[in-house]
């Protein structure tokens, strides 16, 4: 299954259904507990990570916390 993650076309290993939660685990995404996921242009509520299913052709963005700046 092909999806686009942060602008990069990505081939997922098997053609099985997976939720956002399982995708985060499978890809070992950093800040996994806190990352914001945008699925096809919509920001998902964290509660929806368990139920939203990843489909062929989906466009997914992971948005990360970044502090930095003053000190």
């Amino acid at each position: 299954m092909k999806i686009t993650i942060n602008g990069k076309e990505t081939e997922l290993a098997e053609n099985r259904a997976r939720t956002i939660d399982s995708l985060l685990e499978e890809l070992d995404v950093s800040q996994r507990l806190y990352v914001t996921v945008e699925l096809n242009g919509e920001i998902l509520d964290r509660a929806a990570y368990e139920t939203s299913v990843v489909n062929e052709g989906d466009v997914i963005e992971f948005l990360y916390f970044m502090g930095g700046g003053a000190r």
């Binding site: 806190y34 914001t36 242009g41 920001i43 970044m66 502090g67 930095g68 700046g69 003053a70």
Partner: protein, 269 residues
């Protein structure tokens, strides 16, 4: 404008998007920079050079040797000096026309409204999520446009927030991460030039806002990867469930909240 000012700003004045009128808008403009560190440094230097008439700068810290690798407004001789004083000296040395207002304090729920009230545009150049969420909440509730900036290691991000019109920081990140869950620059490192790139973009947004020219970085988060040398913009919509600017906001007043946050609080959000 006197002859000296016409010469000083001549490269602005010949731009059709600026001109004498635009330069006057910059003189009349008031920008608040929260954090006189890596991000605040280029913002303060460029806004002073540009002739933004009133620039506020907020930071309770003193200059430390480890700051100098990236906080280019502070010099070796400034170590131990309040950052806001060190910044003011350089800004006024660049441009004596500019009024610099210093606040040697941290922003808190108790003081932030009175600090931001006098300004047209706010720059978030802070390093911690308590401050970033507080700035977002205060600016959204006050209807004050602001620029968010974040940096870590070799990556940075920035977005401009026009309250009520474009998505806010909580539309993207409804709740702060638990304390110490996300590494800071002092823990994880940061390449010194990175805040120069992100801060310069934040300064550009402030200037465009004051001029009323161009398209602001609103509704789109810009991400910069210095190692890959790539910029990417991701379009973001307002989140109807946003806890502060959504359809049924849970946050209606400011509070200092982050230190008490736990993972359980975050999951409950």
């Amino acid at each position: 404008m006197n002859d000296q000012q016409i010469e000083r700003y001549s490269r602005h004045i010949i731009l059709k998007e600026v001109g004498g009128k635009g330069q006057q808008k910059l003189f009349d403009g008031k920008v608040l920079i929260i954090g006189a560190g890596g991000l605040g440094a280029p913002v303060a230097l460029y806004l002073a050079a540009a002739g933004v008439g009133t620039i506020g700068i907020v930071d309770a810290d003193d200059v430390d040797l480890s700051n100098l690798q990236r906080q280019v407004i502070h010099f070796t001789a400034d170590i131990g000096k309040p950052k806001v004083e060190s910044a003011r000296e350089k800004m006024q040395a660049i441009n004596p026309d500019v009024k610099v207002v210093t606040y040697k304090e941290w922003v808190t729920a108790a003081n932030i409204n009175s600090v931001i009230a006098d300004y047209d545009f706010v720059i978030d150049g802070t390093d911690n999520f308590a401050a970033k969420f507080l700035i977002n909440d205060a600016c959204v509730l006050a209807g004050k446009p602001y620029s968010h900036g974040g940096i870590l290691q070799f990556v940075g991000q920035t977005i401009t927030i026009l309250p009520g019109q474009s998505p806010c920081y909580r539309c993207l990140f409804p709740q702060p991460p638990p304390k110490d869950a996300i590494p800071t620059c002092s823990q994880a490192g940061v390449i010194g030039v990175l805040p120069g790139v992100i801060g310069s973009i934040q300064a550009t947004e402030a200037i465009k806002f004051l001029l009323g020219k161009g398209d602001l970085l609103a509704g789109r988060i810009l991400m910069y990867d210095a190692l890959g040398m790539k910029f990417r913009g991701v379009d973001i919509k307002r989140n109807p469930n946003c806890p502060i600017c959504g359809e049924h906001p849970a946050i209606t007043e400011l509070k200092d909240e982050v230190d008490a946050m736990t993972v359980c609080d975050l999951k409950g959000a």
